[in-house]
Point group: C2
Chain length 355, copies 2
């Protein structure tokens, strides 16, 4: 008997559904957080990983205030690989660059590792690689190293792309999910939910009156404009998997503060709102791939907003909420009709494989 | 009609088998090299990627001779994920650490990005993560950032792991595949082919008289001992996919030199030799995951060999060949009976998914 099979038969069968990986473990919500906190953090006990940021910030010469390196990694399994407004290639570069930006870093260079499924069309690969190249050019940061693996037909799904990145954090910049303070203002750089809904529409072949396009784009220039105007920015976070609500609920919890959102102030496109109603999604939990949240001292809010709005992709930036000492670790939405709603981290999987 | 399908139907069907990704594109041989040279290098035109090393070496403060960063990435799709002598977890850390070592770097930190298949047992994940943790401890370098994605059942294969790494290259170290010079000696740190054959045996359930164990292990300490003894080491390369012959054929071509190997000097375990005969493999093309090739100036060969042999994992190191000005770009094996055999890069796929 092959050893594999022998081993399989001699092992107890997993007892419950909870012993097996579910799609929601990758959804960026509560199950993902549990998996990371229970499985990864205790094993790799170190202050960089424990910070649970979008990447790690590493002092280069021992000084935590001087220039530091940011390091981040993301594997992209988005389906379909081509979608309105982007493709898996540019998404992988922008996504990783945005994670670096969320550490307060400018991108220095990228790596790329592809897992291709046997039978994948070379023409599609060339198109994806071209798109990655254009994304690198736009970010003025080179792709310097890579890897290519091929798995048997039926053991992959066309192409998965891991993109890791190194960035440089300038002296004085200190952002972190645990840095929000009462009195801070919460800003968003543009309308939310476009990416998730565009992917869902492309996947299911829905037709909407006006075509929905992903917001996939780099936020590096917007973040640099913000950090130049308000170097004491406290938190940067991109609302990808789990959307705006999950990102802010995590910040409220990490900073032990309350966050109050004004529903009417949150920019959401009409098409996205309509599609969400149709599909039964809450747009506050739908992923963006070209937006970011910034939490800045209240007195700097107008300066911060003006800096973001000075950039072409930041014109629709809004102040959407306030950090308070009340209700620590809670995210509360004041709705248009004046009632209050507690927003928790995404539980379960709303939209699988959107990045 | 879903847009995906529409797009698919409106595109011309690929004309020949050559238009589709084959397993051999990931085999580390000729097709992999073609894919990289045709598809990636022209798009990401930069000196770091064009060097085609095991990673990129990036000057930190503009000086190409001072301290530099090494950056590397690898996705591991090995099957089976548990095998005699290791598992996908430790393999992913050691493999990436070894790629850093091949840049002449000591590891600073790692990232890890997992693609899990829906239904994967959490127990196996915990075992793999523990193994990664132990590997990081052994290398004295932390895992500082990560990512977890889940794909639908049937769209992955249990678990794929990307591990990227950053290392530090000390002042004065200058290694590269194009640095071999006539008169140099070729060294190997231990017997070749153990990993590939151990994986194959585990996969197929073969039983050999004495159990074959993978050589998966970090080579960092061996390389540091070598670089301390012979800082002017010219080339470091780990013979993973494509094995010893492909690695040396690539070096011969990159350095425009001839390399002559002495068949009798190449250490190969009896069990590996036997299994290769049985399975029809050439051990010179079978992957190692804990060995490295070093090309050093001829006059430093004994010092280099002594330094590698001073380390527990390097006791079986051997001098196996010489670099010459004759037959540039060619790798020639002098066989035990005195005849000569030209060794080319691996063509096709000998052992799929061994790392």
């Amino acid at each position: 008997m092959p050893k594999d099979l022998e081993a399989m038969l001699s092992c107890p069968v997993p007892l419950s559904h909870g012993d097996l990986i579910q799609l929601a473990h990758g959804g960026g919500g509560r199950l993902t957080a549990q998996l990371i906190e229970k499985c990864f953090v205790p094993t790799f006990r170190n202050p960089y990983l424990a910070a649970l940021g979008d990447g790690a910030v590493i002092p280069l010469n021992g000084s935590p205030e001087g220039e530091r390196l940011a390091f981040t990694t993301d594997t992209f399994v988005v389906h379909p690989i081509f979608f309105p407004g982007g493709d898996i290639g540019s998404l992988s570069i922008y996504g990783t660059a945005n994670d670096l930006a969320m550490c307060g870093a400018e991108p220095l260079c990228f790596s790329s590792a592809l897992v291709l499924e046997e039978g994948f069309p070379l023409r599609d690969l060339e198109r994806i690689v071209r798109s990655m190249g254009e994304a690198c050019t736009r970010l003025r940061a080179p792709l310097v190293t890579g890897d290519t693996k091929v798995v048997d037909r039926g053991k992959g799904d066309g192409v998965f792309i891991n993109t890791s990145g190194i960035g440089r954090v300038r002296r004085g910049v200190q952002v972190g999910a645990n840095q929000a303070l009462p009195g801070d203002a919460v800003l968003i750089s543009g309308p939310v939910g476009d990416h998730g809904i565009a992917i869902m529409a492309a996947r299911e072949g829905f037709e909407f009156e006006s075509e929905l396009v992903s917001d996939s784009a780099p936020v590096a220039d917007l973040v640099q404009a913000l950090l130049q105007a308000v170097p004491q920015t406290h938190v940067l976070r991109d609302p990808t998997r789990g959307g705006l609500a999950t990102a802010l609920a995590e910040i409220a919890s990490a900073s032990q503060v309350g966050i109050r959102l004004e529903e009417e102030a949150i920019p959401i496109r009409e098409e996205v709102r309509g599609a969400c109603e149709l599909l039964g999604f809450d747009p506050l939990y739908v992923a963006c791939e070209g937006r970011f949240l910034a939490i800045v001292p209240g007195e700097s809010a107008s300066r911060a907003l003006a800096a973001i709005r000075s950039q072409p992709d930041g014109r629709a930036a809004q102040r959407i909420g306030t950090v308070s000492a009340e209700d620590p670790s809670r995210l509360v939405l004041r709705t248009a009709i004046g009632s209050q709603r507690l927003l928790e981290k995404l539980s379960g999987e709303q939209l699988p494989r959107i990045c």
